[in-house]
């Protein structure tokens, strides 16, 4: 009993230590793949990882907004990242997963799911080693990319979740007329 308690507090200390260390200069990222490319999102933004399930389509929205699903009582939109990034679209298989992400400020948190081919790993990234995303000119938009980092000689693109999940709002002015 006592031992258990002791080890528990040890664990806590270790967690705290790790947390402090994170505050210093490293962050953990969840990496996933889209085709041959590897992307990473801040792990603190990840709510859960689910397998793909059919969505209810929303009419008259961009194609990459696949639709909405019922996530334990709340309606959560699902975005296909391949289509968002204008990659070649792939069929949904048993391995296709939905990463449920959180975005927004403290006032309002939105939950959204992104469809990716598969999740790979949790990687620790030293903030100092993050490179700025190079400017590809107008051909390839890098607006969602926070930076690049090299993990095991593979390039991982770190995504800015807030920008990624910022959906273009309906054109209100058009609507009002």
């Amino acid at each position: 009993m006592n031992e258990n308690l002791a080890s528990e507090s040890d664990n806590k200390e270790r967690d705290q230590e790790r947390y402090n260390k994170n505050l210093d200069n490293t962050g953990q990222y969840l990496s996933f793949s889209l085709g041959n490319e590897e992307y990473g999102v801040d792990i603190l933004r990840v709510q859960e990882i689910r397998s793909w399930e059919p969505v209810s389509r929303i009419p008259n929205v961009p194609l990459y907004e696949k639709g909405v699903v019922n996530l334990r009582g709340s309606i959560v939109p699902i975005i296909d990242l391949r289509e968002r990034f204008k990659l070649k679209s792939a069929d949904y298989t048993l391995l296709t997963v939905v990463v449920v992400l959180q975005t927004g400020d403290s006032k309002k948190i939105r939950t959204m799911g992104v469809v990716v081919d598969s999740v790979s790993d949790v990687i620790s990234v030293d903030f100092d080693k993050i490179q700025n995303a190079p400017d590809f000119g107008t051909k390839i938009s890098n607006e969602f990319i926070n930076g690049l980092v090299s993990v095991n000689e593979r390039m991982v693109m770190l995504l800015d979740v807030d920008k990624l999940l910022k959906l273009d709002d309906l054109d209100q002015s058009e609507f009002n007329q």
């Binding site: 059919p54 909405v68 309906l170």
Partner: protein, 728 residues
Amino acid sequence: MSIDMSQFHQVFFEECFEGLEAMESGLLNLDMGDIDSEVINTIFRGAHSIKGGSGTFGFNMVADFTHVMETLLDEMRDGRRKVTQNAINVLLGSVDCLREMLTSIQNEQAVDEHAVALHKAALEQELNGGNSAVLIADIPTITETEAKPTIHNSDKPEDSPKEAEVGWKIAFCPYLDLLKTGNDPVRMFRELAELGELTALISIQDVPSIFELDPEECNLSWDIKVTGEIPESEIREIFNWVEGDCELDIQAIAQKPAKPVSVAPKASQPLPIEDTVEEFKEPDPAIPEPSSPVPDISILAAPLELPKAFDKPEEVPVSRTRDAIKLPNVESEIKNTVAASTSIRVDTAKIDALINMVGEVVITQSMLGLVGENFTMDKLDQLKKGLAQLERHTRDLQQSVMNVRMLPISFVFSRFPRLVHDISSKLGKKIELKLVGENTEIDKSVVELINDPLVHLIRNSLDHGIEMPANRLAAGKHETGIIELKAYHRGGHIVIEIIDDGNGMDKKKLIGKAVEKGLIDESAVLTDKQAFELIFLPGFSTAEKLTDISGRGVGMDVVRRNIEALGGNIEISSELGKGTTIAIHLPLTLAILDGQSVAVGDETYIVPLVSIIESINITEKMLNKVAGKGETFRLRNHYIPIIRMHKVFNVKPKNTSKTAEGVIVVVEGQGVLCGLFVDDLLGQQQVVIKSLEANYRRVEGVSGATILGDGSVALILDVPGLVRFSSR
């Protein structure tokens, strides 16, 4: 043992605000000619419970203040005082002031003592017949009628010994600006009167002629005698507040009472008594013949007589202080409601119903448990019966819970008579506000959010809609403009209409202004409706000049945004010279809906049952084409446009989309009939409305989403939006 009172504060404040609202509406309802004693009683009760409560909780400032109001009201109630417009205005001002005080206390901020003092002074002035000079005269009357003084009542000696001539002699000679600092001699005298028998003598020799009189200045001085065994500290305490604003001399009286005395001219050193007595006995010849006799002042040694004309100018500060404070109050009133409490007052009947329902559900559940324990097929009937019962009870329970959240819209409407009263008098317009359907119930969250937009719209109507009385007469209308605020249920929505019989909106002017501001193109041709919609554009205002009420061109766009955020919409219709009607459609509740599920291709949509008129199968023969494109069909002599859901929502149709193979659901959206062409009707069910916007965004033609029995998501159609959307 001490009890932590703070736990009751919230309830106290809520009760106070309720009381204030009752007082306010009572005051506004007081009809000058015919005073209804029940109305005064209501107002009085409001004041009385606030006084009592604040005393209990130790908010002495509030208790003090309310006490003065109560005294005034008490006299009105007993018919000893006539109800004048002025008195009502003062009381209304005090209600505002009280509300502010309470809000400050609630938010643990400092109370604006200056404003409080001003209002109190105004009240007291009113209390004393609008004439500060007869202040003292009234004191005995007041003390007699008081139920119990709120302050110092514990200090009050029981029956001051009258025969023993011990006490204090006070020469009180305030500086000119005593009143401006918010101090009020009457108040002090009243406190003195509570300590012992009070005799006061007034000196009016410094009162200037009527033309030079500044009503905000205190031109009087007093010589006061209080008899009774009173410690000096108590006397000092009363004068504590005015120490810097007067000449004060407090002396103990020996056995023999001094002759009645009057004190010297103000702003000079107090003179020896003998010198001034003589002067006082011969009133200044400049003062006109006295007219207002002083009522039963037995204790006043010298006759106190005052010029008649004195009455009038004394009313000035009353109205002036009120004016200065009025507008900010209206603003703060609105702010207060924004920070509305998160608690809710519920009729106990509703709670009882709820408990009843829960009981039923529990009984049904245990019955089902029994059936399920050793289930055999012969119990199937019982099981079905039980399930049916459960369904019914769940539905009832749901309804009861929803009922708890429903409030009559009068919670919002009740504030407007005051708003209209204040603003119309400020604008010099004559306006009558009619409230219709105040008991229409609406979800609490909607109630809280609808207030600001409504205030804005009503202000607009007051300012821009209703014309000045002269213009109205010239236009052949009645001098008094009418604003009607109407609420009713229609098709699962609550509709709030603001109808004024004012000038209406000038389409040409609107368009001209929009072109001038570069909001639309000069060549644009707009329908009436489109032209009226222009006012919702940011930065649009046709007001010739700005007023502090409206006209800055911010607002209508915000109003619209707020209402749309609630899932509602706003419509304007107007006729030049006749008036404007603004209709706001809001969802009744934000939670549950009776729906008809329909199939469109492989998808399922929910149509709110309330907007469905009927569903029919039609044949090709009934179809007509308009200009080769728009489809209509004939339904009992009406041509109704068809909206093909496949097209609108880009769904692959299941069938060949031949009209004969589908179903037309005839729906009504904002008074327009429309036929929705769908593949099939699936069934009716109650659905829980889930917000699409919480995680996603608004989608045109869709008002929300719900979760079906199989866990999948179905979209709920927004019929008016769909009609609008498809007509583009």
